[in-house]
Amino acid sequence: MCCPCSRFSLTQHSMQVPECPALFARDLACRRGDRLLFRRLTLELAAGDACHLTGANGIGKTTLIRTMAGLTDPYAGEVGHTGTIALLDERTGLDPELPLGRALDFWFALDGAQETNALLERLRLRDLAQVPVRYLSTGQKKRAALARLIGQGANIWLLDEPLSGLDTASQALVSELVAQHCGQGGTALIASHQPLDLPRLKSVALEEYAAPLEQLP
């Protein structure tokens, strides 16, 4: 799973360190059930890169993100990363019965997150700290999951539909947060149907790699 070139750079540290991808996929093919979703996908993201992943419903965006995270195994090819990965998807990972503040505190404590109050302020979650997570609206849950993601302090962000359910102001905030993350040397892979307003945004259209509709042997 670890990037092979980190070893390479260790042995040759007097020379210039070769550009090491923070997140990469080589000749990747993924399947869901017995159907091949896409194949021959090669993707390399360096530190500071943001990449917009597009494609119709069911084409495999979520599967790709989960494969990049190492949660599911690729059907063929390889994926890898250097550093740590944080994942945001449609599930918050927060206990629905707990008040939001305590549910987030579990992850903040686990991750050793700093300046959590400023983070909650920025995501406009301070006033919701006493509200149980299950009473939050879709957009509020999404913002809460963003707080968990940022608190993790990972250098790679995998965002699966981060804008869905958010109001316009919050959508702008997400773009701002991603831009800031990448500005500080972070990497982001973002699957979204909405256009993203980010500088130096790379883009991958998953349609180009879509496999023909046939069943696997």
Binding site: A69, L71, R91, G93
Partner: protein, 214 residues
């Protein structure tokens, strides 16, 4: 980190922490209460068969928490988030098994006192029931965890897990309740051995099941 996970899991499962987690213990006492109504108040019959009833009640009570033991955290994405932080599925399941046992084993052993009073068990029988439950409930927790993880992604998982637990728990029941009939502690050693084997196996089996459910 494991301490934090255990604390969080206990908050989810410990009796009366909310979410109906106290139900298994109430269910256990309710069965012990119903039995004299069903077979009559004859003290001799009750004390002769009561120990077995406590064991059956314990086995049935072990089924109740299974539907929320693993499936809920898969749906929440909790296990995925832990995986990204480098926690292995086996470690998650070992912690979960400990939390599951702590939240139903000791409360059940304490609830065995009122149950014994209702069933008019004598001192030596109660003694055997208590050490039997102490040796047997960790095994029940281990079986329960494996079944809960295996059935987590199934639609009828909750009903199925009850059906699956009963045959697998039979050895524990036979040796545990068998000690009562013969009034000797030897077969409780077997119960403890079965429990230890199951505890050693469960985190790996359940961990593999959680990985496969992704």
């Amino acid at each position: 980190m494991m301490g934090r996970l255990l604390k969080r899991d206990l908050a989810q499962f410990f009796p009366f922490a909310g979410g109906g987690a106290g139900l298994p213990v109430l269910f256990f006492v309710a069965v012990a209460m119903l039995y004299p109504f069903a077979v009559g108040p004859d003290a001799d019959t009750l004390s002769r068969t009561g120990g077995g009833v406590v064991w059956i009640a314990a086995l049935l009570a072990a089924i109740l928490p299974l539907d929320r033991l693993v499936a809920r955290d898969i749906e929440l994405g909790h296990f995925d988030q832990l995986r990204l932080r480098g926690v292995s599925e086996e470690a998650m399941m070992a912690v979960r098994m400990a939390a599951h046992w702590i939240s139903f084993g000791p409360p059940l052993i304490i609830a065995a006192f009122p149950a014994a009073a209702l069933l008019q068990l004598d001192g030596p029988t109660l003694h055997l029931v208590l050490i039997g439950l102490l040796a047997g409930t960790p095994g029940l927790a281990a079986i329960g965890l494996m079944i809960a993880a295996l059935t987590a992604s199934l639609r009828a998982g909750a009903a199925l897990s009850g059906l699956m637990l009963i045959p697998l728990a039979l050895p524990i029941l036979i040796f545990g309740a068998g000690a009562l009939a013969r009034q000797d502690q030897a077969s409780i050693g077997f119960v403890a051995a079965i429990s230890l084997g199951l505890i050693a196996m469960a985190p790996f089996a359940a961990g593999a099941a959680v990985r496969a459910a992704r």
